[in-house]
Symmetry: C2
Subunit: 247 residues, 2 copies
């Protein structure tokens, strides 16, 4: 499995993904699931993937190739006039990649090669935007009502995101929040694993203002993990006690 | 869906279940998923169910009938010499109930009528014990390494159980812990809903020392839900801040 979170805030976008892929518990590997492309001063587009690795790698490779062939640039990441057009293009690519593989494998393969993608980015003159693309190629955009997307193993880390998110929080606090969400997931599910990739995209910067890979010896993540356990315990003890008489 | 938690502690057993059943989001009902049987001073056995409602109701009805027909009492809840024998019996009943339904519906029905069951209880002269029965009829017992079982929609409420559980905690604190776990689940998943059934079984009491139904106007649960949001936020703010320089 996978866990990726993308979050839109007033000050920009925060993205985090794990790197574990597994086909059974005895076949685990590390693969990057976060990718980005930029045109300095003009656009910054980041993508995170979950699902069948062969499918997502094929999609990323095709996106990569397109950035390198000027003749095809009309419909690429680097030339789409809006985030909407860029995301439509990636959605089409995802849908056709899955469809090709499923056709090649007959009905038997139905549902097997699916994947989902989070796209985050900004193009000059427009706001930072965040999208989630379904295996069918259609997609939804984050709003102030639903300001973050998760793909993969989403449930363990969701309650803290629901409780902790605030659109006006600093980008540093948003990073702290996704780290706590990842810590809860890692503690409960072996299929999500370190290292984690972090990227922060500042509004109107058109570049990652911060990138970091959280590895096993990351002092900050270790501190969050330890302190969160303690902080949760104190939070728990601060709640009013239950009484068998009044209950 | 469903969410049930059973927890074994030094001082006894704590059980909580929701009551929502749904077949699509437009067909929701309230059904009790927690049941118990007792022989005063000798045994106390509680059962919580998740999965296909027709299957679990059939199992419970058959268990109920057996308690009422003295001729069949050899293999019943009320006469099994150990918790192990009682749980084996329930497991057999679960497996055959699922198998009958699946056979009647041919291969098409495969996997559709499954259910899982948590069994908690104590028989005089033995320790309180906690089991989880799989649809196949086999089962596992809780240990000090894995001191609680969840069935149904288990993921949202798992991180806090992992972090908050302590075998020596009071039964009141254990109730508070499962309430927080349920609150996190209810906040994130519509298929788990109020009212909630709570039961506390004290060690060597052979009776529920506390039973309570948490409804929409339950003051304590509302307080936990509100305060937990606040407590989580303070816990979050108490964590060390992330810095883009050092990260």
């Amino acid at each position: 499995m996978t866990y990726c979170v993308g979050m839109v805030l007033e000050k920009g976008l925060v993205l985090m993904s794990d790197t574990r892929t597994n086909s059974g518990v005895d076949n685990i590997s590390v693969f990057r699931k976060m990718f980005h492309w930029q045109v300095p001063g003009e656009r910054m587009i980041a993508v995170m993937t979950a699902g069948n690795l062969a499918t997502t790698q094929a999609v990323i490779s095709k996106l990569e190739e397109r950035t390198k062939h000027p003749g095809e640039r009309e419909t690429t990441l680097l030339n789409g006039p809006t985030m909407f057009s860029v995301v439509s293009e990636i959605g089409k690519l995802l849908r056709t990649t899955i469809a090709e593989r499923q056709e090649a494998n007959g009905a038997r393969g139905k549902g097997r090669f699916t994947a989902s993608i989070i796209v985050a980015g900004q193009i000059a003159g427009m706001e930072p935007r965040l999208f989630m693309i379904y295996p069918e190629g259609n997609f939804i955009e984050a709003s102030w009502d639903t300001p973050f997307f998760q793909i993969g193993e989403t449930k363990y880390g969701r309650p803290i995101l629901i409780r902790g998110y605030d659109r006006e929080m600093s980008l540093e606090d948003a990073v702290k929040l996704v780290m706590v969400s990842f810590d809860s997931t890692l503690k409960a599910n072996l299929s999500v694993g370190l290292p984690l990739d972090l990227m922060v995209i500042g509004k109107d910067e058109f570049a990652p203002i911060h990138q970091h890979r959280v590895t096993h010896d990351d002092a900050y993540f270790a501190q969050i993990s330890t302190n969160w356990g303690e902080a949760l315990k104190s939070a728990f003890h601060s709640l009013p006690g239950y009484s068998f008489e009044s209950g």
